[in-house]
Symmetry: C2
Subunit: 231 residues, 2 copies
DNA sequence: GGATGTGAAGTAGTTCACAGCC
DNA sequence: GGCTGTGAACTACTTCACATCC
């Protein structure tokens, strides 16, 4: 299925999670007209050490300049390549409530490489409305064979939507609903749970440990894959 | 600052990120009337190995029953304690757009221990409206000294809002805006970035590696401490 | 029997320290 | 001078294997 593309050897999971952060930082720098950035600056803003930044970037090939740092736009480009942004991924979103609207209207969510192709909801009041340039369709309409499916429904509807996506030959699902769904082997589900971030913050507040001690830091949402059949 | 509480020794960062997942799974089972759950079942649903689950839970003290598993409600309770849910955290949300509304209306976001105390926006059309039982206030109103501040504004407003929160003596910030903010030492900022999940999914799709390949894959959560000063 | 809890072993990720290059 | 890139050392996390208890 699809050309393997054999890019950089392979990147570790933590590295993959940090690259988008570096990319965003570099975009901010570029936007402000700065054309060079070094690992120390990236590290401070991303909340990691300069060494970690260099290791991560070394994995994409040597493109830094010794003594000077990284060229901002080259950095952005290399990360985009490594992450596969030069390919086009079709994205469908099911559940156009507050969250769904927030996502599709955010310049933030649909980054380069991702193209929104369809929106679904089962609320008659919502169907037919235009959101982010697309008409919201009924869930009774067929789902096109997109690359990524995003679930923004309430928890009780998540499993049914996931089933529909699997039928439509979607193999990658991003689930914002607070509900564990089961899918066949070969389909990846990533869970995004806002409350988890809040809970991690609360833990550190309660213990005085970790993150509170220092300035900038970042944290990512948890993502778990669960290729198991229904229990 | 604040009572240390000296609970369980100390939990590792990956463990802290997984506990809320286990808790949610247990809540689902309890809701369906199941009073026992074992590490294998939790692991399958959470996408981690049974051993990892047992190690994580062993860190909160021994409360499982050998041969039977964990009592669902005890499990929920123990995780709540470990995470500090028996304390009350006041939460203020700034930016009541689609995302802000999605968060405060979600049963999912404000878990036990978190209490919403104020909402702010600078859109005159929004100010005065009731959302989730609270009146949306103007940003010119003073921010009360809450425990956690949540930023749901567009990126350009994030830094100003963060400054206001720091002034209001808030030491923990959850930032949903796609913007790195700088704060004084002693304040923690956690960034939540939806597009990062999408990008991670895209990477794996592109490489055929990891999650798609099938087989259980772990959840990942990175949170790093950075004892650096804001630049 | 069956599942927990945990030393011991293994693996992955981070940090150190410095050679290499601009 | 400064910063990258990387072997080597270190640390942290996960997995194995099994003793322990219901």
């Amino acid at each position: 299925m699809a050309t393997p593309r054999l890019r950089s050897k392979k990147l570790s999971e933590p590295t993959i999670a940090r690259l988008p952060v570096y990319q965003r930082i570099a975009e901010g720098w570029l936007h402000r007209g700065v054309s060079k950035i070094d690992s120390k600056q990236i590290g401070e803003l991303a909340g990691v050490t300069a060494t970690t930044v260099r290791r991560d970037l070394a994995g994409l090939g040597s493109f830094g300049t010794r003594g000077a740092g990284y060229d901002t736009s080259v950095l952005i480009e290399r990360i985009a390549e490594a992450l596969g942004h030069d390919r086009l991924y079709d994205v469908v979103v099911v559940g156009i409530g507050n969250l769904g609207r927030a996502l599709v209207n955010s310049s933030n969510f649909l980054i380069r490489g991702a193209r929104l192709v369809a929106l679904y909801d089962n609320d008659p009041a919502m169907i037919g409305h235009e959101v982010a340039g697309l008409i919201v369709q009924s869930l009774s309409e067929p789902i096109p064979p997109a690359t990524v499916g995003v679930i923004c429904t309430p928890g009780f509807a998540a499993q049914e939507v996931a089933d529909r996506m699997v039928e439509a030959n979607i193999h990658a699902i991003l689930n914002f609903a607070p509900q564990v769904v089961t899918v066949p082997l070969g389909t990846a589900v990533h869970y995004v749970d806002f409350s988890i971030e809040l809970q991690i913050l609360m833990y550190h507040l309660n213990n005085g440990t970790g993150p509170l001690g220092g300035g900038l830091l970042h944290s990512l949402g948890i993502a778990s894959t669960n290729p198991l059949r229904a229990s």
